[in-house]
Every structure is written in C-alpha cells, then in structure tokens.
C-alpha cells in the first residue's frame, strides 16, 4: 500500500504539474504582536497527504489556523488556490482537535454533521434540502458512523467523536481536509482505523494533518514536514536530521531504539546527515 501511494504521489507530481493548492512564502504569524511562526515556506499540491510534526507549542496548530484564515498573517504571503484564506476556505474541510467543552454539549451526531451543510452568510434557518440530506448521509457513512446518527455526541468514545468531526468536514464536500491532532484523544486501535479511513479519503482529496506523534504519523502519510517556529518540508517521506534538530532536543539514537518498526536509519557517517533517517515499513535492519 505504501509503495502504491508513494508512486501515486510521484505520478501526481510528474504528470499533473498543477499549481499548488497552498503556497506560503516568508510567512510570519502569531497572536497579538508575538510571532509563533517565523519565515515559513511551504507548498502543497493536489493529492498530497502531508503530516506535520513538531513539539507542542511549536506552531503546528497556528499554521493550520493561518491557512484556515482564523489567525491573521503578520508578514509574508499565503495563498490557498491562489486566493486569500478567507476567500478559499469554503473548500477546506476542517477537523479541529476535540476540546473539553464539546464533551458535554447537548447535541446529536446528526446535528453535528449537519453543521457542515450550513450555508454561509447571514440567513434564516431553512429546511434541509434533499441534496444536503444526501451529503450528510454520505459523509456519515464514509466516516463509518451512519449507525450513530441518532446518538448523543457526548456519549461517544474519543474515536467515534473524531470520526463524527471528520464526517462534518466531509459533509462540506471539501477539496482539502485539514486535521488537527486527530488521534489526540483516541485509543491505539481506533487510531489505526482512523488512519485507514484517511488513506481511503486521500484517493479523492488532499490531506494535511498535524500531530505531535512522529511515530504514528510517519507510518501513514505520504510526506512529512516539521514545524517548530520555522518549518522544514522537502516534499518527501523522510524524517531528516534537520527536522529532528528543529523538533527535539534529544539524540537521534534515542528515537531509534526500542521500536517495533525501525523508522530511522542508524547514524553512520557525518556526510549522510541530511538523509540519515528514512522510513521503511516492516524492515528490520
């Protein structure tokens, strides 16, 4: 599967030389006068499935929120399909991190996913169109939660709740799915299933996801980037020393020990420092 998706990715790049869906040049962004992101450069293309890693507080979520137009740009350029985030964001399917307050909000699964069909602008509540109804049902079934439609959202497990939020994003019929820490409150079995779902969805739409969990992310996404104030992204599925240096203050050896699948190559020579770690599925060398 990995080989297939990798070659698909290669095909996307070589055969479809399209414009980037996200293009970021020299971006600075943050809250108030305090920049969280500094001089970010990043391009994302159609069909991509990018995982962004980085420490907590490193600006991963901020980067997502700038792309969604929720956090303003301080300096630099950010285009989504060549437009400003606010103009383009109706094509973005946003799956936020589950927050504590969601957990006791009185609402049914159906009503949560229906929010994905709420028409923009200031308008009166109207009846649900049959097109919207179909989109909601399709989204629920794609995310595997159609049977939960009548349940109360706050009685679901973390994994189910995450799927419902994915269904809500899918109901908007997005071209790019953006997920913030989708496995943060999900047990390991549901995590595996969640990544299966994302791989399926990636056949039709582009995915950008953020996680602090390098191991989980590196086995599932097509390409990996790293954000910690600055950003390292080379459009490849390789965790480079550069990324690790940016992310973590610990020796690479520590990360390579005691893993079921070796994710990182051992460090032999100084001269291969830039590609010293490459993911290889199921291969124990």
């Amino acid at each position: 599967m990995t080989l297939e998706t990798l070659s698909m990715n290669a095909k996307n790049k070589s055969l479809v030389p399209s414009d980037p869906i996200i293009s970021i040049k020299g971006l600075w962004a943050g809250y108030d006068a305090h920049p969280v992101l500094e001089d970010i450069h990043f391009e994302m293309f159609q069909g991509d499935y990018i995982g962004l890693i980085g420490p907590n507080g490193g600006g991963k979520t901020t980067l997502i929120k700038v792309i969604l137009g929720l956090v303003p740009v301080m300096r630099g350029e950010l285009k989504v399909w060549g437009k400003s985030p606010a103009e383009a964001r109706d094509r973005l399917g946003y799956v936020p991190q589950i927050s504590r307050s969601d957990k006791d909000f009185p609402i049914s699964v159906w009503d949560v996913v229906r929010m994905g069909r709420q028409a923009p602008g200031f308008r009166l509540s109207s009846r649900l169109s049959s097109k919207s109804k179909q989109a909601i049902e399709k989204a629920l079934s794609q995310a595997g939660v159609l049977n939960l439609a009548k349940r109360s959202f706050n009685q679901l497990s973390g994994g189910q709740r995450q799927r419902v939020l994915i269904a809500r994003a899918l109901a908007t019929e997005p071209d790019l799915l953006i997920l913030d820490e989708p496995t943060a409150s999900v047990d390991s079995q549901s995590t595996a299933k969640l990544y299966e779902l994302l791989a399926e969805l990636n056949q039709h739409l582009s995915i950008l996801l953020v996680s602090h969990d390098l191991m989980a992310i590196s086995t599932h996404v097509k390409t990996i980037g790293c954000v910690n104030s600055r950003m390292v992204y080379h459009n490849q599925k390789m965790v480079t020393k550069e990324m690790l240096d940016l992310s973590y203050d610990c020796p690479v050896d520590l990360l390579a020990h005691g893993l079921p699948h070796r994710v990182l190559h051992e460090h032999h020579h100084e001269d291969n420092a830039n590609s010293l770690s490459q993911y290889e599925e199921g291969k124990n060398d």
């Binding site: 929120k65 969604l68 137009g69 929720l70 606010a86 964001r89 109706d90 973005l92 946003y94 936020p96 307050s101 969601d102 909000f105 009185p106 609402i107 049914s108 009503d111 949560v112 229906r114 929010m115 994905g116 709420q118 923009p120 602008g121 200031f122 308008r123 009166l124 509540s125 109360s152 706050n154 809500r168 908007t172």
Partner: protein, 275 residues
Amino acid sequence: MISTIGQVFSYEFMQNALLAGVLVSIACGVIGTLVVINRIVGISGGIAHAAYGGVGIASYFGFDPVLGALAFSLVSSLAMGLTHRKLKDRSDTMIGVMWAVGMAIGIIFISLTPGYRANLMSYLFGSILAVSKTDIWWMVATAIGVILFVVLFYRMLLAISFDEEFATVRNLPVGTLFILMLLITGLTVVVAMRVVGLILVIALLTIPAAIASMFFKDVRVIMLVAVGLGILLNFFGLLLSFQLNLQAGAVIILLAAAVYFGAFILKMSLSKAKL
C-alpha cells in the same frame, strides 16, 4: 394565614405577577439555554449588574429607570461582547471591571438623587407584585423577540455555540450573531429585573436551563423544558412568598436553587446507578 390558590390569584396584582412570571420565563428559558451552552454566564451577570448604572442615571435626571437600565444593558452587552471577541480567555477581568463600574455609577447617582428612593431598591431586588401593564407589554415584546430570534437563526446559533472556529471557516456571521445574542440577553435581563431584580437575574436566566440540560440532549428540548420549569418555579415561588409574606424574587430564586441542587443529586445518583 393560609388562603386558597383561587383567593391568592383573585387580586389583580397577583394576576399581573403570574403573567409576568410566565412571560419572563419564556424569554429566560430560551435565552438562558444559549447562555448556558455558550458558557457566557459571567458576561450575562456583568450585563445585569452594569444595568444598575442606567437605573441610577435615569433616576437622577428624572427619566424612567427602566429605560436607563435598557440603555446601559444594551451598551454593556455590546462592550462586553466585543471585549470577549477580542480578548477571548483573557476577557474575564475586563468584564468584571465593567460590571463593577456599572454598579458604582448606579450607587453614586442614586445617592445624589433627591427625595424618596426606596422604590429604587426594587430594581436591585425585584418587585413582581408591582408589575404594571406597561411592564407586561415590554415582557410580551421581549418574549416574542427572543422566540423569533431563536426560530429564525436556530441552526446558525447552534453552529456557533458548538464550534465557533468551524462556523468561521464555513463563513457564518459568527461575530454578528454573538453580539446579537448578547443584546437580546441584555433585553431579557431588563424585563427579568422587574421580577427578581438585577442581582438575581442571572439565577432566573441560568437555573432552569441548567436543570433542563442535565436531563435532555437536544437544545430545542432544553429550551422548552427550561421555559416550563421557569413558569412552575415562578408560580410556586410566588405562592410560597405570599403565604410566608416574604420577598417574592428571593423566594423564587431559593426555590429554583433547591430544585437545581435536588436535580444535581438525582443526576449524580442516576449516573452512578448506570455504572
């Protein structure tokens, strides 16, 4: 002296009080549910207390204190709403300060107002037995306004209450609706002031909705149950205060709080039984 319910409600002021209780319960139950699910109980308390500044200024300059309260309540809704939108989590202190400023202005102007001032206390502690026909019309208009607002914008209100950022990404008018919601809360506070007074308004606004949200999982149902509970609490509170010859507003609130604590214990034992 024990009198029958029929006797109690044969007085015109008691009929007005009962009607006021019903109308205020409608507005409070519906808006209170939004206040509870949006976790803006603090802001609503601030709006209510700041309104006292309007009561003070209006009485000093010889206007109707209700109009003063209305003006102050709407201005503080706007100011606190914008502060909350701008500062988010850090808005707490600023809203607390505005709350205090409103009250302080009220206290100063009322102390400067010459003449008999006892009736000004009724704005702080309520005077449901002194509700006038004009007050009733205000309450009717507010109840209708609140119902229209929620019926017309229900889906968008639900979306911004549940997840403001997702609603923003969907290009819903999050800020406008939030401010509108606070302005209508401000209006509700002013009419509820006649029943329980500014200090206790927050209880009437939130307790019925809080009880209902313990047992029901749909916002519309919670609104309806909160309205029903509010009407019952007003009715029995009024009756009790008449029998015991105590301040009506305070008795209504104490009764509501008793039901709230009872419901809380019931809810806890129910969820324990499930485990």
